[in-house]
Every structure is written in C-alpha cells, then in structure tokens.
Amino acid sequence: MANLTINGKTINVDVEDDTPLLWAIRENVGLTGTKYGCGIALCGACTVHVDGVAMRSCGMTVSEAVGKQITTIEGLASNGALHKVQQAWVANDVPQCGYCQSGMIMAVAALLKEKPKPTDEDINEAITNICRCGTFQQVREAIHAAASA
C-alpha cells in the first residue's frame, strides 16, 4: 500500500513497494496516457514529471515516488486549457501513431520549464525519447513554436 500524489490528488494504491511507478499509474490508478514501451528506461514512452522533473516511470518504484508530486500527461492541461506544448503539438500536427507522444510531450514540458528558449543543441541533449514513426522534424518545430508562444 502506498499513497501517491498524482495530478494533485492523493491516491492510495494497493501494490508492492517495488512495483514500477508506470504500472501503478496505468493499472492501479487507471491513467493509461502514460505508455509502456521498453520497461528499461530507454525509450521514454512512460515519461512523467516527478517533482517537476521528467522521469521514466518504468524505472522508478512506487516507494521511490511516495511523497512526491507526480504529473502525468492527463494532468498537464490546467483549468481546461491545453499546456502550451500540447497546443504546439496540435498546431504543428506532430503525432503520427501517437503512442510515444505522451512521453515526448512530458519530456518537452520539463525542458521548457528549465530552458524556456532551448537551442537545437539543448533539444538534442534533453529529448532522447524514441519515436519509431520518426516525428522528430515536427517535434523540433513544435518545441520552438511552444518556446515562442
């Protein structure tokens, strides 16, 4: 049993302490926007914010997440308005299959908080999510668009 704070709500989840945060979010809390892609913290499809920092939730246990503020893709919009990264994604028609995009968007939102006007080099360094459809060109354009929004 663990108390997790997800998208501003405290939720009691009945899982073992070593359960990856990803699976607690998806299966116990029922928020399926956070995706499973590799389970070894490489692809980034499961990226969430933990105390504002982009983290790969498959590589973090529930016990490590207790007491921290967790934000998932479902909690990124506020007061009914999409986050500026989501807006830029819509305006630039970024997703193809879309499966990796929750993680991509969460990674970008965290980057913009740290570096509001990232250079291409900043993007190259910070955004290491895998996209098999190959949306990188639109991702880069949308990051710059969101930064200047």
Binding site: T19, C38, L42, P95, G98, N124, N129, C131, V139
Partner: protein
C-alpha cells in the same frame, strides 16, 4: 472540433456492445412502407451509403475501413470522400466499421487490409464514388422537395442551393429523404485539379487525443472484470512447450491461472499485467527446442552465400539479352557482394489483444492492420462461426507491417477461451516482442557489371540469395514457386519496376528460407534491393571514373519518371556544385509501391567512423497527392525508420533464437541524429502510387554512397554498428 470516434470502453458501452445480437452491429434497420431499406447508425442517423452517415446537425460521419497506424490514412481517405461529397470539412468525423459488420453486409466496405502502402491507392476510386454517390442523392432529395430538376442544384460545404431561385437547404435536413432514394448507377468523379479538400495539407483528424493521453490503444483497453496476461512463446522458432512448473508461482500475488497457449506458449493470467509478468518471469519452463536450436546467423549466412553461386538453382525475375555470356567475355568487369540482415518492426506499442470468449460469442479488441484477418483469426481460434465473432479495431501504436499478422490475436483468444466469460488482455513484454517478431528477411546479393572498351555498361547480373516472405506468409501468391515480390525495385514492369535499361540484364533469386518467421517490414524487399542496386550503381560509376548521377542518367532514358525524381533530388541537393567543406553527397533512386522516389544525403565523417547527416533531400512521384503535409511526414519518418535499421538495426540468431531483447540491443534513432528532410513532391498524375513505404528504400543507399564519397570505403553490410560506424 474534428475527432475520431473511438469505441467507448466503459461499462455502458460494453453492455450494449455485447447485448447487440448477431454480429454486434450498432446499426438498426428501418424499413419504411414500400421504400428501400434505410440503414441507421447507432444514434439513429441514416446512412446515405456505407461510407457516409449524416446527422441532423450536418455532422458527417465518414466510414474508414483501413487502419490508422500513424500514416494518416484516416485523414486522407476522409478527404477523398469529403471532396466528392462536398461536405463541410469542419464537421467531418470518422469511424471504423467492424469486420463483423462487413461480413454481415457482404463486404460492403471492401478490403480492410492496410499494408503495402495501399490504403489510399487501392481504395481511392470506390471511396470517392461513395462520396459522389451520396452527394448526388442528397441533391436529388432537395430537388424532389423543391420540385425542381436536380441539374439546377449544386452543393458545397453541406449546403444545397437551387441556383435559379437561390433557395438553400442543408444535408442534415434532406438526409432522411436522400437515404430512401435509389443510388445513381454511375457518377462522375472530379478531376484532381479541381480538388478543394483533397490535395491540401489539412490537419489530421486524430491529433488532439494523442496529445492528452486520451487516445485508447489496444494496450489501454479496460473492460469490467478484465484480467491481464503475459506470455512466453518458445524462443526457438518451431519449437514446442514441453512443461512448466505451475506450483512454483500459484501463490504469487494476483495470479489467477497459468495456461498453455497452442503447443508452443505459456501464459500467466493475473489481476494486473505487472503481476502476470512478474509471475511469468518466475515460472520454470522447459522447451522442446528441436532441430532449429542448431541454427545461427553464421550458419544462415553460409547457406545464403552458397546461393550466390551460379551453379545453384534460382528463379529469374528479370532478364533481357545474355548477361552471363556478356560478362564472361567482357573487357572489364566489376563484382561485389552485399548483405542485409533480419530486422524487427519494434512498434512502440508491443503486440497486444483483448478477448472475451463465451460459447456463444467471441469478441476481440486490438490494433490490427487487417481487421478481416484479425476476424478470421478470431473465428479460427474461438471455433465459432462469423456471426458469433467480432473484432473492435483500435488505433495502432505503430504497425510497419507487424500488425498485419494475427499471431497475437490468436493467442489472446486461446487464452480467453480457457476462461469463458472473463475478458483477458494479453500484452507482450518488449522482450517477447523482440523474440517473436515477423522479421524483415535476410538476404545476400552478388552483383556483377560488365563494361565494353568505351566504358559503357553492357551487362548487369544481380543474383539474390535469401529468404522469401511469401513462401511462409502467403504461399498461394508464389508463381510456380517464385516469389515475385523478392524482385521489388528490380522487376521488368509493374509497381516496383527497375529504372535502368542495360543491354544484357539478369536478376535472379536463389530462394533459401531459414526457420526465422519473416514478415512485411516497412518497405519490405525494396530496402535491401535498393541498397544492392543503388550502391552498386555508385560502384560501377566510380569504377569507370564517371559521376554517379551522369552514369545513371545514361541508363535511364527509357524511364522518364524514375529519372524525373532523380533529377529533382540532384538539383535540390546541389549535385555537381561544391558541397560545404568536409561534406560529401550520396544519391539513390528506386520505384516501389507504384511510386517513383529518389533521395540524397549530405554527410560528414570524423575519425573515419562517426557520421553526421547534415541534410537529406527526398523526392516522390506518387501520381497524386491527397495530403502533402502527411506525405512529407511519411517521407521524413521513413528515413528515420530506414536509417535506424542501417545504423542500429540487425537481428542475429544464436542457438535458433533471436539475440536482441530490447532497445539496448536494437537501438533506434533519436532527434539529435536526424536532420530535416527536404521533400520535393513531383506528382505527375495519371496513376496512384503509395506513400508510406517507397522512400525508405533510398534512405540507406544515399547515406552509404555519401560515406564512400567521404572515405573511399565501400560498406556492403548492414548494420553499421557491426563495423563500429555510428552517428557522430
């Protein structure tokens, strides 16, 4: 706001879905006195025809039979229907008819299969006719109401106008009457030059939910009382499950059941997938690996190399003149041997399907590239007739050919069948996904070119040796044993025709089928055939001191469409003009899936082995372009997929199994490694080519040829990681 209508997977929808009799049709029949039958959508709105449902508020529901996996076909097909229908695009939504509905209505929506870059090119005519037919009926209904000739009425933006009087009405107001009319026997389709909705780079219809986490993929399906399954199939292909020690895991948290799946797999069913996977990892399993356990990449390579010898039997795919004799007596000849490895699709969403079985009904929820094939697999695994089965298609988290296969659907049904009444979601781990792929086939190729004394190419012999996809996947498609698809890009004619005329040409295939199951992998055989041909063209040109583009042009005079895209790329990349300091260029062209494509790359190489790709230019002539923004995205995406395979890919066999297990051993390109792709679209009209796949063919050879230009070293083996070549 446009949105794609997804099946609602809450309890209410679930109850309705399973309570609906027959094929689970959310469609009712309304038979008025004496008139024709009106078919109604779930909300009561009438169908004008199978493609078009119009609601009273003018919302236009366009039915899409093909599957959306990121390639944008959902939007493109809707554009084609809407173009002819003359409806208000801002009020268009789409929905998938189900395979069960299709069966019940005598395949009213035609083929569901979404592969081979066929989504639009093989259905454009009948979906456009669907839109045009509906428009004619809607106008006729308004004309009848007004008691005027239909020829005096026009429609645009879902509004019908009687031109002489200026009277107007809307589709939503006349749809009830229109749905009762006989459809016209024939309709005239618009000339694409008059398109207003098609041909434009309109925004995709499925984007918003993909940015909020709301889009439901197969892996996200939730049903009341649902359990979760993790599976392991025998890692040696063709092997069997001998035994497993269930007692070791029955006490583990959440575990409900351990089941045998077919004769080669075992699954753990638990309350959550994490519990199922954890227990499966702890389950002692004994496999009967069989003879295939002796196979390795080395033994496969040796067997394929033997097939390069002319003494071995081979199928002839393209031939003119006498290449062998010309080569034997040539003044000068050039020979090279290339190879291309197995590749895994690695869709971001691992394979999964959810099944609910009772003796009276079997329903499946999954992402599939072929709803009808998934339906057939459901029927077969369930042992139930068509009217007792249904497949609910979900948006795919990547397809690339992998989800045209139905192995995961069959497994899900076989598991659910052992737990009647309980929905079970089967999700593969990434490791299972890597182990149980349907792999891009392995091949080798020996190429020999002959020159006369004036350095004219007089003969070309392309001898392929390796695996056929059709032999395993679609044996009925073999022609007297020959896999014609093995010659993609090298065929004498058709939608994957060679772009060169050589006086003496021989292209042949020594078919050798290892035990590894092959599948259609984005671009399929164009991938390796374009590397073989286009890198060898580069070799031939250099061997006689000629410019690679000029050398090609001399062989392409009878192939103007191939030549046009090559020229377009050469011009855009600046071929013939100096490149920036330290930057080198490579170029390639091929035809596949009915489209002519070319690509060029600018790269720099440091320390002889670190490649930075600075620029990519790609051109395509697919005949017509339905959505240029999506075509651009498909082209750029195909380069990411193709270059990932070139640099990082390659699946190897040891002890009969695949060695790669996850992205740590089968890496994929990141944003830092990928430059912008500059697209030059040159649609010449008069034919319909595909878009999702063709350009992948030129990605690797363009970079490999640039690598030669930069280093003087010829790379004839993929992946580059095996030669310690990587991204800078």
């Amino acid at each position: 706001m446009n949105q794609h209508v997804m099946p609602k997977l809450n309890r209410r929808a679930f109850v309705i879905g399973t309570a609906a009799a027959g094929a689970g049709l959310a469609i009712g029949l309304d038979i008025p006195f004496g008139g024709p039958t009106v078919v109604r959508a779930a909300d009561g709105s009438p169908e004008v025809n199978v493609w078009v449902v119009i609601r009273p508020d003018n919302t236009t529901v366009i039915r899409i039979a093909r599957s959306e996996m990121g390639q944008g076909t959902l939007t493109g097909l809707a554009q084609l229907v809407a173009e002819e229908l003359e409806c208000d695009w801002s009020k268009v939504i789409t929905e998938y008819p189900t395979p069960g509905q299709s069966v019940a209505r005598k395949r009213a929506w035609g083929d569901f299969s979404t592969g081979g870059s066929r989504g639009i090119r093989s259905s454009q005519e009948y979906v456009r006719k669907g839109g045009a037919t509906a428009r004619v009926m809607l106008i006729q209904a308004a004309a009848n109401d007004w008691k005027v000739p239909a020829s005096e009425c026009t429609a645009t933006n879902s509004v019908i106008t009687h031109t002489p009087s200026g009277k107007t009405t809307t589709y939503g107001k006349v749809v009830e009457a229109a749905a009762k009319l006989e459809p016209p026997a024939d309709v005239k389709l618009k000339d694409p030059k008059d398109w207003k909705i098609a041909g434009k780079g309109l925004k995709r219809l499925d984007t918003v939910d993909k940015t909020t986490g709301a889009m439901i993929y197969g892996a996200d399906v939730k049903l009341p009382g649902m359990l979760n399954a993790a599976i392991k199939d025998c890692p040696v292909f063709g092997g069997k499950l001998k035994s497993f020690d269930e007692a070791k895991i029955t006490g583990m948290k959440g575990v409900k059941k351990v089941v045998k799946v077919g004769d080669s797999a075992v699954a753990v069913v638990a309350d959550t997938w994490w519990h199922a996977k954890t227990a499966l990892d702890a389950l002692p399993i004994v496999w009967d690996e069989g003879e295939n356990a002796k196979v390795s990449s080395e033994s496969i390579a040796k067997w394929l190399a033997e097939g390069l010898d002319n003494s071995q039997p081979a199928y002839i795919g393209n031939q003119n003149g006498d290449a062998k004799a010309t080569i034997a007596s040539a003044a000068k000849k050039v020979e090279a041997v290339y190879n291309y490895p197995y590749q895994n699709h690695v869709t971001m969403e691992p394979m999964n399907a959810t099944a609910l079985y009772t003796p009276d009904k079997c329903e499946v929820w999954c992402g599939t590239q072929n709803g009808e094939a998934a339906f057939a697999a459901t029927m077969e695994a369930a042992g139930l007739p068509a009217e007792k089965c249904e497949v609910h298609k979900l948006i795919l988290g990547g397809g690339f050919g992998r989800r045209g296969m139905t192995d995961y659907v069959r497994q899900a049904v076989l598991i659910a069948k052992q737990m009647p009444g309980t929905p079970v979601k089967l999700l593969w781990s990434r490791e299972e996904d890597m182990a149980q792929g349907k792999f891009h086939p392995v091949t080798q190729c020996k190429l020999t070119g002959a020159f006369d004394a004036d350095n004219n190419l007089t003969a070309l012999h392309v001898r392929l040796s390796g695996q056929s996809i059709l032999y395993t996947v679609r044996p009925a498609a073999l022609v007297n044993g020959m896999d014609t698809a093995a010659f993609q890009g090298l065929s004498p004619s058709g939608d994957a025709a060679i772009g060169y005329s050589v006086p003496n040409l021989l292209v042949e295939h020594s078919m050798r089928n290892p035990h590894v199951p092959p599948g259609f992998w984005r671009g399929v055989n164009v991938n390796q055939n374009a590397i073989y041909m286009e890198c060898f063209m580069d070799e031939l040109a250099h061997s006689v001191g000629q410019d690679p583009v000029e050398f090609r042009r001399k062989l392409m005079s009878k192939h103007p469409k191939h030549l046009a895209v090559l020229n377009a790329v050469a011009e855009k990349i600046g071929w013939g003009k100096p490149a920036p300091q330290g930057v080198y260029r490579g170029i390639a062209q091929v035809m596949g899936y009915g489209s002519y494509v070319a690509g060029a790359a600018e790269i720099s190489v440091t320390e002889g082995s670190k490649i930075k790709v600075h620029r990519i230019v790609a051109s395509t002539d697919p005949g017509y372009i339905v959505n240029p923004a999506q075509v651009e995205r498909q082209i750029a995406g195909s380069f990411v997929y193709g270059l990932s395979a070139l640099f990082y890919g390659g699946c190897t066999v040891k002890d009969g199994k695949m060695e790669q297990t996850n992205f740590d051993t089968y890496n994929s390109m990141r944003i830092a490694e990928m430059p912008k792709v500059e697209c030059v679209m040159v649609p010449s009209g008069g034919f319909w080519g595909g878009v999702g796949e063709p350009t992948i063919g030129v990605a690797a050879p363009a970079v490999l040829n640039a690598y030669f230009a930069a280093t003087g070293k010829r790379i004839r083996s993929v992946p580059l990681k095996d030669q310690n070549i990587t991204f800078a």
